[in-house]
């Protein structure tokens, strides 16, 4: 019996990406059936699949003590390749093929405004939280504030400013929590915030920023909105990395001294 099991594991390790296709396909199939049978189609199958993925990532992390969820289990390492930045970006670019150019252009200005707000608002919340919890130095405050922008802006800013490693960890954890919150929260609040058309999707992408959060949140809400949200969201991290260690840090330093 253990020989059979071992052989199966060997196949999964050797065919990692193919195994990931099969596992993710099965996960989505189960989620679609659950969406239809248990929620009568009220909840998107992909929303259930994404939440299920996050739950599995939690157990993967607990089981292995690693940072990459299910992908840290050797037999499921292909999930890491399939859901990694390379294929994620490739698929995001592919969705642009379905963009209605007229719609996208009409919402261009809203997108730019959203990008500015999407950088400033979370930074403000992050810095105020840091101050409330007793951080007084400009470097730590800026690093935690930057983490609230995205989990990439946080460590990039922290590294540029020479932040303490515990502050860096806090900053990254804030960004990751935000990304997970965006994935799970978006389908829940979509109706409330008017997220049902290309225009609001572009505003949403710029405001939420975090590419993984936006990618997951829109997939769980309505696939037709994906390219519009992604179009603005992909500029968000770059802008955050640009202003975090420069303008934002200088502003914080001028205030706290």
């Amino acid at each position: 019996m253990s020989g059979l099991w071992h052989g199966l594991e060997h196949v999964f390790v050797e065919q990692s990406l193919v195994a990931a296709f099969a596992v993710v396909g099965a996960l989505i199939l189960v989620s679609n059936v659950a969406a239809r049978r248990l929620t009568n189609g009220r909840v998107h199958g992909s929303a259930i699949a994404i939440v299920l993925g996050l739950v599995l990532a939690y157990f993967g992390g607990v089981l292995t003590g690693g940072k990459k969820g299910l992908a840290d289990i050797p037999a499921l390492a292909g999930i890491g390749l399939m859901g990694g930045a390379m294929l994620r970006d490739f698929a995001i670019v592919a969705t642009a093929f379905e963009v209605d150019v007229i719609e996208a252009r009409r919402a261009g200005l809203v997108g730019v405004l959203a990008l500015a707000l999407g950088t400033l608002l979370p930074f403000l919340v992050g810095t105020l939280t840091a101050v409330a919890f007793g951080y007084h130095d400009a470097v730590s405050i800026t690093t935690i504030g930057a983490g609230a922008i995205t989990y990439i802006v946080g460590p990039v800013t922290g590294a540029a400013l020479g932040a303490d490693s515990t502050v860096m960890a806090l900053s990254i954890a804030t960004g990751v929590t935000k990304a997970v919150g965006v994935m799970v929260g978006t389908p829940l609040v979509a109706k409330l915030i008017g997220l049902d058309n290309p225009r609001s999707a572009m505003a949403y992408g710029g405001l939420m920023g975090t590419v993984s959060g936006v990618a997951g949140g829109l997939a769980a809400t309505d696939p037709k909105l994906v390219p519009y949200g992604a179009l603005t969201a992909t500029f968000h991290t770059g802008i955050g990395c640009l202003v975090g260690p420069s303008v934002l840090f200088l502003t914080v330093r001028a205030i706290v001294g």
């Binding site: 592919a94 954890a173 037709k224 640009l242």
Partner: protein, 152 residues
Amino acid sequence: MIIAGVALLAACTLIGVYLGDLLGIALGVKANVGGVGIAMILLIAARVWLMRHGRLSKNVKFGVEFWGGMYIPIVVAMAAQQNVVAAVSGGPIVIIAAFGSLAICFAAVALLSRIGGRDPGGPEVEHGGALIGGEPEAARADAAAIPAGRTR
């Protein structure tokens, strides 16, 4: 040729990411600035060009649209490899900073989406949604409803 579509997508992605890297260097940032966004714009431009010149064959389209249809499975795989343990065990400062900014940004989306009219998007948008949702059959039905003379 299906591979022509896949290669077009790959070329747009590579050029976009490269330009994003260059933009990052030019701005003195240790990150890629909008590489994927630039790639998306390149792909949109390529589609418009191919259509105007009558070279957007079914197979080229299929090569790109297949990867658009793989979007949701890839995102599910992405969710399955997040560091959820770190997110759950973050402590109060992480929770407050993350969910505080989440709430305020959702509110801002509500505000921004009220500016201007609420346009649900035409059949083209629905068509794209069906393709990205991995339902090409439904997409075909939507495509039939797109008026002639639009960009598609």
